[in-house]
Symmetry: C2
Subunit: 211 residues, 2 copies
Amino acid sequence: MPESDPLYEGRNGDGSGNETRAALMEATYKALSEYGYADLTVERIGEEFEKSVSLIYHHYDGKDALLVDFLDTMLDRLEADIALDEHENAHVHLRALFDRVLSPSLDDERYAMISAITELRGQAPHDETYREQFTRSDRLLHDRIAEIVRRGIDQGVFRDVDPDRTAEMLLVTINGAMTERVTTTNEATVRAVRHELDEYVRLRLLDDEHS
Amino acid sequence: MPESDPLYEGRNGDGSGNETRAALMEATYKALSEYGYADLTVERIGEEFEKSVSLIYHHYDGKDALLVDFLDTMLDRLEADIALDEHENAHVHLRALFDRVLSPSLDDERYAMISAITELRGQAPHDETYREQFTRSDRLLHDRIAEIVRRGIDQGVFRDVDPDRTAEMLLVTINGAMTERVTTTNEATVRAVRHELDEYVRLRLLDDEHS
């Protein structure tokens, strides 16, 4: 987006651009939750947005361009869930990550966020733009998790495993559990997966001294 | 569907009804791969189908009713992947299951099948019918895997773990890896997950004598 864009102006200044953008993202999220991807239109997003629909069209070519930007916002939030603290014990960090992404209960906002990501992921098999977006974001999450594992090895807390392989296993299992949660009514999933992931970490990663 | 339904008649007789239905499922699958869920219409499915569009409307209320039936067909195929053989060693059976669902290469048909399931799963967060369908099918896959684990315990091959918890972990990880495969271009996922799942099974399930 151009820097002179009125929707985003003041982004690093008085914050009004940020607020407008946040309101648009909120509107997108509400409309997506209500209608689902297939029945979503820019007009319907506009109904949830206090400003004009033409302002949306001024910034985005259409629904998909807006949704790709929206997905970026959602993924930034997800990434914030695994923010790094270099000095923390890697095992403690990993458990804190599990606590957040696999918490037994899910507030409405987080449920809606995971639902939205799952719906947009459903576009990726036949839409290259979404596929690129998920490739990029999953790589980023992968790299963050691999960094935690690598740090654990350096700290002498974890065994000398392959950090990339371990990270991919954790990422895919977490993604699978989050998807299961919003696409089924199976209640036991998250608790079961959390328990087994803890066991996987204990048996596969923890050094004998620490397990 | 009523038994007198011309699309399905002869289903258990001369097989012609089965063939017509298979052709319609094939057409649905091609159209879904080409257009994706959002741009899919009964008319577009009809273009891939040698018989008339009105025949489709005679049997289904619309796109979603047809897709729910289509999803049933896809899930039957997936279920066939983990067919039980009571006399087989449970560890051998589990590895054979991994070989099939996490094979390093994926033929076009299987890729299209997993893509279709992923796309339809993307409808589930805001559509109760799809959510019920995935709840049912994931429970069924869960039960099949739990049965293998239970058999392994009876055979003395596996430790006395909780079969349901283990099955949920395996199901969610496999689903997550299959989704990753069709929604990103990350090449390393399947091999990494396969390796770590084998390690999880070895460390968590295999009796000391067998590991």
